[in-house]
C-alpha cells in the first residue's frame, strides 16, 4: 500500500536501459527510409555565395537536397535550422538525403561551395575593443534578446590594471543597498579577475532525429530532455500546428541542459521527409556534437568583495563578460549574479554584465548555468579571504549562508526555504572536516594534501502546470507524465505522489509518457532542477481532483454526501460503514457512465491547450483526474548544496588524486534516496571535470576548435574519481511543496567543482588560479615557479 515517498524503487525504464531494449531516436527504422547528412560550414563565419550540387544530385542513390530557403527562417539571434550565413564552424548549411549514409556523405563531398569569409571572433574582449571584429554582421552583443553593437573605449581598456578585466558600459545591471558604504565597512577587500571555460555538454546520445508524415501529421522521434514543453516549439520549427505533431521521445541519452527546450536541428528530417515523402533519419555523430551541439557560456569576470573581521560579506561588485556563442545563447551571467546574492547574502551588491557574441558553438544552459561557473570562480576567493582573516573555510561560509528569510537577486524576492547552514554543519561533521583540515599541507615525498569545501545553488521549482491521470475500469492508475525522461528518474518519482495521494499500490500504476499521441499534459520541461518541485505539485493536484471525483461518484452511487467518504485499499468507502464502497475499478466504470468532468469530457477551464488535447485522448476511458497546479507558492525555491573534498596533489607531475568526496544536498524532503545519491555523485563527477579536466580550446587565428572528441575535451572517466563517494541530505521539508520536495540536480555539480578547486589552492599553500579548468600544466607551472602560458584574461586556451 502507498507510503511510497522517501523509499528506493526501480523506475520502470531501468530494465530497458540495462538490457539494451530501450529504443532511442537512432534505433527506429521505417520502410523506405532515407538517411540525411549535413553539409556544415568549414569556416567560423562566412556567406554562402553559391552552391553547385549538380554532381551530387547526379549520384545514384541521392534523392534530394534541402536548402536554407526551404525551411522557416529564424529571426536572429535565434539558432538556425539551416543557413546561408553560418556563424560557427559546423553550422549546417544544407542537408542531403540518400538511400545510405555513405552515399549522402559522398554527395556532400561532391558539392562545391562558394564561400565568402567574414570577420570572426573567439574572444569577447577582442570584440569589445573599438576596432574589434563582430561575430555577426548586425552586431557583437545580445541584450534583452536583441543583437546590438557594443564597443568599449580605449580608455575603458586602459583603466583596467595589468591583467584585470576592463569594465566598460554594461549591457545589463542591477544593484541593491549601497556598495560604497558596504566596502567602507569592510576590513579586507578582494578585487579579482577570473576566467571560466565554456565546456561542451557531452551528452552521450547525440541529437539524432527521425521523421515521417502520415495523414498530414508529422511523426518525429528525437532526443530531448523534455516532452510536452518542447512540443509547441518543435511544431513551430516544422511549421505546423502542435496538434499535427506526434512527438516521441521515450528515452534521452543525456542533455545536461542542451536538450531542455526545442532545438532547430531536430526539424531537419521532418522538413526533408515532407519534401521527399519518405521517412528520413538524420544521425548526428559524437564528433559532430562538438560542432553543432552546444556549450556552456564562458566568463571573463571581475569581482570585488568586502569582508568584515568575522567574515561577513559587506559588499559585492561583480562584472561578467559572457562568451555567448553567435546566437541567443544563455542568461548565465545574470543567473551567476543572482546566485551570489543568495549563496553569500552580501549586505550590498551591484551586478553588471555584457553578453558578447563569438563564432563558437551555440551556447545554452548547462547544468547550473551561471551558478556553477560562479561557484568555481568565487569559492576559492572566499578561501583567500578566510586565510587573510584567519577564519576556517566552513565558518566563513556559514556566517554568510542564506536563511529562510534571505532575499534573492536584484529584485530581492523571498525564498521558500534555505538549509545551507545545516548542510555545512552536517557535512563538516560527517566528512570529519576538522581532522582532515589538520592534515592539510602535509607532505609525503612530492605529494601534498589539501582540503576544500564548496557551495552552489540553483532555483529549483516552478508552478502553474497541469497534472493528468486516469483510473481505468480495470482498476489501474495511469499517471500521464509530460515532463520528459532526462535520465534522473524524477519523471517516475514525481508520479509516485499521485499514487501516494490515491493510496494506490505502485505495482498497480502505469506511467504514460514518451509519446504525445498517448495524451500527455502540459508541464514544465525537465531542466532547471525543477521537476521534483513542479511535478510533485501537478501530480498532487491531479490526484486530489481524482480523490474528489471518487468521493462524489461514491455519493452519487451509494448515497450520502461526498464528505462521508474516504479512500483506502484502492476503494472509496463510507467512513462509518466501510462495506459501503466502490472499488476504483467500479468507480472508473461509473465515471465513464456518468460522463462530464468525471470521464474527461468536460475538462477544467484553466488548463493549457495541450493538456486539453491530452484529455480528449483519454476522455471516456475511465475516471479522469486533471487539474492545473493552483497551489500557493511564495518565493523562489532554492536548491543548495555543499561539497567536501580531500586530495593529494603531486607537485612534480601536477596530478591530483581525489581521496574522498562528500556531497550534501538541501533538496527538501528526500523522495528517492537512490536517485538523489546518483545525482549527488554524478553531479560531483561532472563538477570535477569542470574544475580540472574539461577543455574548450580554440585556435584564435583560424577560429578552429581543438577539443572535438571525448579524448580531447576530457570529461572525467571512472578512473579519475574515487570509486566510493559519500552523500547526505539535510532532508528538511520545503513549505512551498505539498510533499516538502525541491529539486537538486544542478548545484550538486557546482559544489564539487568549487570544493576541488579550493582543495587544490589549499594544497598549494594558497595559490589561487582565478580560472577553470585548472589543468596539470598550470599546477606544474606554479610548483616550478614558472609563469603560466596563457594571459590572465585569455579564453579558450585550456
Amino acid at each position: 500500500m502507498a507510503d511510497l515517498l522517501g523509499k528506493d524503487y526501480a523506475p520502470p525504464d531501468v530494465y530497458g536501459k540495462v538490457t539494451g531494449r530501450a529504443k532511442y531516436a537512432e534505433d527506429f527504422r521505417m520502410d523506405g527510409m532515407l538517411f540525411c547528412r549535413l553539409l556544415k560550414s568549414p569556416m567560423p563565419h562566412c556567406r554562402v555565395r553559391g552552391v553547385d550540387a549538380s554532381a551530387a544530385l547526379a549520384m545514384e542513390g541521392v534523392v534530394a537536397i534541402l536548402r536554407a530557403d526551404e525551411v522557416p527562417e529564424q529571426a536572429g539571434p535565434a539558432n538556425n535550422i539551416l543557413t546561408d550565413e553560418p556563424h560557427f564552424v559546423g553550422e549546417p548549411i544544407l542537408a542531403v538525403a540518400a538511400v545510405t549514409e555513405t552515399i549522402a556523405q559522398n554527395a556532400i563531398e561532391a558539392i562545391v561551395l562558394d564561400l565568402e569569409p567574414l570577420p570572426f571572433c573567439v574572444d569577447p574582449l577582442e570584440s569589445l575593443r573599438p576596432d574589434g571584429p563582430n561575430a555577426r554582421t548586425d552586431g557583437n552583443t545580445v541584450s534583452s534578446g536583441e543583437v546590438q553593437e557594443h564597443k568599449w573605449t580605449e580608455a575603458d581598456f586602459e583603466a583596467a590594471g595589468e591583467g584585470q578585466l576592463p569594465m566598460g558600459e554594461p549591457g545589463a545591471e542591477w544593484s541593491y543597498g549601497d556598495i560604497d558604504a558596504g566596502f567602507a565597512e569592510a576590513s579586507i577587500i578582494l578585487d579579482e579577475t577570473f576566467v571560466t571555460a565554456g565546456t561542451s555538454h557531452h551528452s552521450m546520445e547525440p541529437r539524432t532525429a527521425m521523421a515521417y508524415w502520415e495523414n498530414g501529421k508529422c511523426y518525429l522521434h528525437a532526443s530531448t530532455q523534455s516532452q510536452s514543453f518542447v512540443h509547441p516549439g518543435i511544431a513551430a520549427y516544422i511549421g505546423i500546428e502542435p496538434e499535427n505533431l506526434v512527438y516521441i521521445a521515450e528515452y534521452c541519452g543525456g542533455g545536461f541542459g542542451s536538450k531542455g527546450g526545442p532545438y532547430p536541428l531536430l526539424s531537419i528530417p521532418a522538413h526533408m521527409s515532407r519534401k521527399v515523402q519518405r521517412p528520413v533519419l538524420m544521425r548526428i555523430s559524437r564528433a559532430e556534437e562538438y560542432f553543432l551541439g552546444s556549450a556552456r557560456p564562458g566568463f571573463q569576470g571581475r569581482i570585488k568583495m568586502g569582508f568584515r573581521d568575522d567574515g561577513r560579506i559587506t559588499a559585492v561588485d561583480v562584472y561578467i563578460v559572457q562568451e555567448n556563442g553567435p546566437n541567443q545563447g544563455g542568461g548565465d551571467m545574470g543567473a551567476a549574479a543572482s546566485a551570489i546574492s543568495i549563496v553569500y547574502t552580501p549586505l550590498n551588491m551591484r551586478y553588471r554584465g555584457m553578453s558578447v557574441l563569438t563564432n563558437t558553438p551555440p551556447r545554452g544552459a548547462q547544468r547550473g548555468p551561471g551558478q556553477n561557473q560562479i561557484a568555481t570562480a568565487v569559492e576559492p576567493l572566499i578561501d583567500k579571504a578566510a586565510k587573510q582573516l584567519g577564519l576556517d573555510q566552513v565558518a566563513i561560509r556559514h556566517i554568510n549562508a542564506p536563511t529562510h528569510d534571505s532575499l534573492y537577486g536584484g529584485n530581492r524576492g523571498p525564498i521558500t526555504s534555505a538549509y545551507m547552514r545545516e548542510a555545512l554543519e552536517q557535512g563538516a561533521e560527517r566528512f570529519g572536516w576538522e581532522e582532515r583540515r589538520a592534515r592539510s599541507g602535509q607532505r609525503e615525498g612530492s605529494k601534498v594534501r589539501g582540503v576544500g569545501v564548496g557551495q552552489a545553488f540553483h532555483s529549483a521549482g516552478s508552478s502553474g502546470f497541469d497534472g493528468l491521470l486516469v483510473i481505468t475500469p480495470e482498476g489501474k492508475l495511469n499517471i500521464h507524465s509530460g515532463v520528459g525522461n532526462l535520465g534522473t528518474y524524477s519523471y517516475a518519482t514525481t508520479s509516485r505522489v499521485a499514487a501516494e495521494v490515491l493510496k494506490c499500490r505502485w505495482e498497480n500504476c502505469e506511467i504514460v509518457r514518451g509519446d504525445s499521441s498517448r495524451g500527455l499534459p502540459w508541464t514544465l520541461g525537465q531542466f532547471g532542477s525543477n521537476t521534483s518541485f513542479t511535478m510533485t505539485r501537478t501530480n498532487f493536484a491531479a490526484a486530489n481532483d481524482a480523490v474528489r471525483k471518487l468521493k462524489e461518484i461514491a455519493a452519487r452511487r451509494l448515497g450520502g454526501s461526498a464528505t462521508d467518504y474516504d479512500i483506502g485499499n484502492e476503494t472509496v468507502f463510507a467512513r462509518g460503514n466501510p462495506s459501503r464502497r466502490l472499488t476504483y475499478a467500479q468507480a472508473a466504470q461509473a465515471a465513464i457512465e456518468m460522463g462530464g468532468a468525471y470521464s474527461g469530457h468536460e475538462p477544467p477551464e484553466d488548463i493549457n491547450a495541450l493538456t486539453r488535447r491530452a484529455v480528449e485522448v483519454v476522455a471516456g476511458t475511465g475516471l479522469v483526474g486533471v487539474a492545473r497546479d493552483n497551489l500557493e507558492r511564495n518565493g523562489m525555491v532554492p536548491a543548495l548544496a555543499a561539497g567536501f573534498v580531500e586530495i593529494e596533489l603531486d607537485l612534480e607531475t601536477g596530478r591530483i588524486e581525489i581521496l574522498d568526496y562528500l556531497g550534501v544536498a538541501d533538496c527538501g524532503t528526500v523522495l528517492h534516496p537512490q536517485g538523489l545519491a546518483t545525482q549527488i555523485k554524478g553531479g560531483g563527477v561532472m563538477g570535477f571535470g569542470m574544475a580540472v579536466s574539461e577543455r574548450h580550446v580554440y585556435d584564435r587565428h583560424w577560429g578552429l576548435p581543438a577539443a572535438v572528441g571525448f579524448y580531447q575535451a576530457k570529461p572525467p572517466s571512472y578512473l579519475d574519481v574515487p570509486s566510493e563517494m559519500d552523500w547526505h541530505a539535510v532532508d528538511q521539508p520545503d513549505p512551498g511543496n505539498p510533499v516538502g520536495s525541491k529539486g537538486i540536480g544542478e548545484p550538486v555539480m557546482g559544489c564539487s567543482g568549487a570544493a576541488l578547486l579550493c582543495a587544490i589552492s589549499d594544497a598549494l599553500g594558497g595559490h589561487y588560479f582565478n580560472r577553470t579548468p585548472v589543468m596539470a600544466d598550470m599546477i606544474i607551472n606554479v610548483a616550478s615557479e614558472r609563469s603560466q602560458s596563457h594571459g590572465p584574461l585569455q579564453v579558450n586556451t585550456q
Binding site: T102, E288, G654, D699, H701, Y711, K714, D777, A783, R786
Partner: protein
C-alpha cells in the same frame, strides 16, 4: 573531422601472413593495414585517409602471443595491449613494457588495440587530426608552431617543420629495452632496432615509422640483456584513462654495489620520436641512484629544450619524471 562517415573500401581478411603480404604489396599506398582499428577508424570516419583496400590483420594468429626465445622474448605485433599488460612472462622479466601497456588509452581500447598498432599509430597533433593541410598532410605550413597556435601537447625537441609528438606509451619502453622490430615484406624479413624504427620529420615528414607501404611489422623482440633490470615507467596525462601523455618516461637500470652499470632512459611526448637520453645515460654510469644523481640527470635531460608558446610546462615535467626514474628503486606506475 566533421565528416564522420566512412567511405567504401575493399575489405580483405587474410588468415595467413604470406597472403597478407601479397595483398599489402599488391595495393601498396592504396592499401591500409588494420589491426585493432583505434587509429585507423578515426581516419576513415573523418575521411582523412581513404584507402582502396583495407587488409584486416585480425585473422593472422601467427602474429599473436608472447613467446620465450633463446635470447629473450618475442611478442607478436598483433598481441593485444591487455595481453602485453597481463603476460606473466613480460610482467616477470620486462615489467617496464607491461607497465607502459597498462597506461595506454582505456581498458576497453587495450582489449582490442595491439602492440604493433600502438607503436605504428599516427601522431595526435590536433591540427593534423582536424584535417588542415599542414606539412605532414602534404601542405606547406605548420599550424601548430604558428603565432597564437594552441600547442600545449607539442614538442620540446627535434622540431623540423613539424612539432607533433609520438603518441605511443609503449614506444619509449621498447626503445629503452633495446627492442628489435621484425619487419616482413614479400622479399623477406629484416630486423630494425626500436631506436631506429621511428621516423623523424627531418627525414620524412609524412611517416611516423620507417615502414614502407609494402612492409608489415610482424613481431617485437626483447633482448635477454635487459630482463629483470630495475625499471621505471611513468606517464603523466590530464586523465587516468583514455588520454595521451603530456610527458612519459621509460627507464631501465642495471646496478652493482649500489652503482649504475647500465642505464637506458627514454621520454615520450616530447619529440616526434621517443627521445632516448644518451647524455643522461652516459652521466649516470658509475653513480648511485640518489637525489643528487637524479637532479643532475633531470637537468641534463632538459638541456636544449625549445618550448613553444603553450608547452613550457613540459620542461619541468620532463625534468621531474627523469629525476623520479633515477631516484626510484621501485617500479612505479602512474
Amino acid at each position: 573531422m566533421m565528416k564522420d562517415m566512412m567511405s567504401g573500401f575493399e575489405l580483405y581478411q587474410p588468415a595467413d601472413v604470406d597472403d597478407a603480404l601479397q595483398l599489402i604489396e599488391r595495393y601498396g599506398r592504396r592499401g591500409w593495414k588494420l589491426a585493432g582499428g583505434y587509429d585507423s577508424l578515426d581516419w576513415f570516419k573523418n575521411r582523412g585517409k581513404g584507402p582502396d583496400a583495407v587488409i584486416d590483420l585480425e585473422g593472422l594468429d601467427a602474429l599473436k602471443g608472447v613467446r620465450e626465445t633463446a635470447d629473450g622474448v618475442e611478442i607478436g605485433a598483433l598481441t593485444t595491449l591487455t595481453e602485453v599488460e597481463r603476460s606473466p612472462l613480460l610482467r616477470d622479466r620486462y615489467g617496464l613494457l607491461a607497465d607502459a601497456a597498462r597506461r595506454v588509452a582505456s581498458p576497453q581500447i587495450r582489449n582490442a588495440g595491439t602492440l604493433g598498432g600502438n607503436v605504428c599509430q599516427d601522431t595526435r597533433c590536433w591540427y593534423y587530426r582536424y584535417g588542415v593541410n599542414c606539412y605532414r598532410a602534404g601542405g606547406n605550413t605548420c599550424y601548430a608552431a604558428a603565432p597564437d597556435a594552441m600547442n600545449r601537447e607539442h614538442a620540446l625537441f627535434g622540431a623540423s617543420r613539424c612539432v607533433a609528438v609520438t603518441p605511443s606509451d609503449t614506444a619509449p619502453a621498447l626503445v629503452a629495452l633495446d627492442a628489435e622490430m621484425v619487419v616482413r615484406n614479400t622479399s623477406g624479413e629484416h630486423v630494425i632496432p626500436a631506436e631506429e624504427f621511428f621516423m623523424s620529420p627531418s627525414v620524412d615528414i609524412q611517416r611516423m615509422t620507417v615502414l614502407d607501404p609494402g612492409d608489415l611489422l610482424t613481431s617485437i623482440r626483447l633482448p635477454a640483456s635487459w630482463a629483470n633490470a630495475d625499471f621505471y615507467f611513468e606517464k603523466v596525462a590530464d586523465r587516468n584513462s583514455w588520454d595521451f601523455a603530456l610527458v612519459s618516461v621509460a627507464a631501465a637500470f642495471k646496478t652493482s654495489g649500489g652503482q649504475i652499470d647500465e642505464a637506458s632512459v627514454v621520454c615520450g611526448a616530447v619529440q616526434c620520436i621517443p627521445r632516448r637520453l644518451r647524455e643522461v645515460e652516459a652521466m649516470l654510469l658509475g653513480r648511485t641512484r640518489d637525489e643528487e644523481t637524479a637532479s643532475l640527470a633531470g637537468a641534463e635531460a632538459i638541456r636544449d629544450a625549445d618550448p613553444l608558446d603553450y608547452n613550457h610546462f613540459k620542461i619541468p615535467l620532463m625534468e621531474n619524471l627523469v629525476k623520479r626514474a633515477v631516484r626510484s628503486e621501485a617500479a612505479v606506475s602512474g
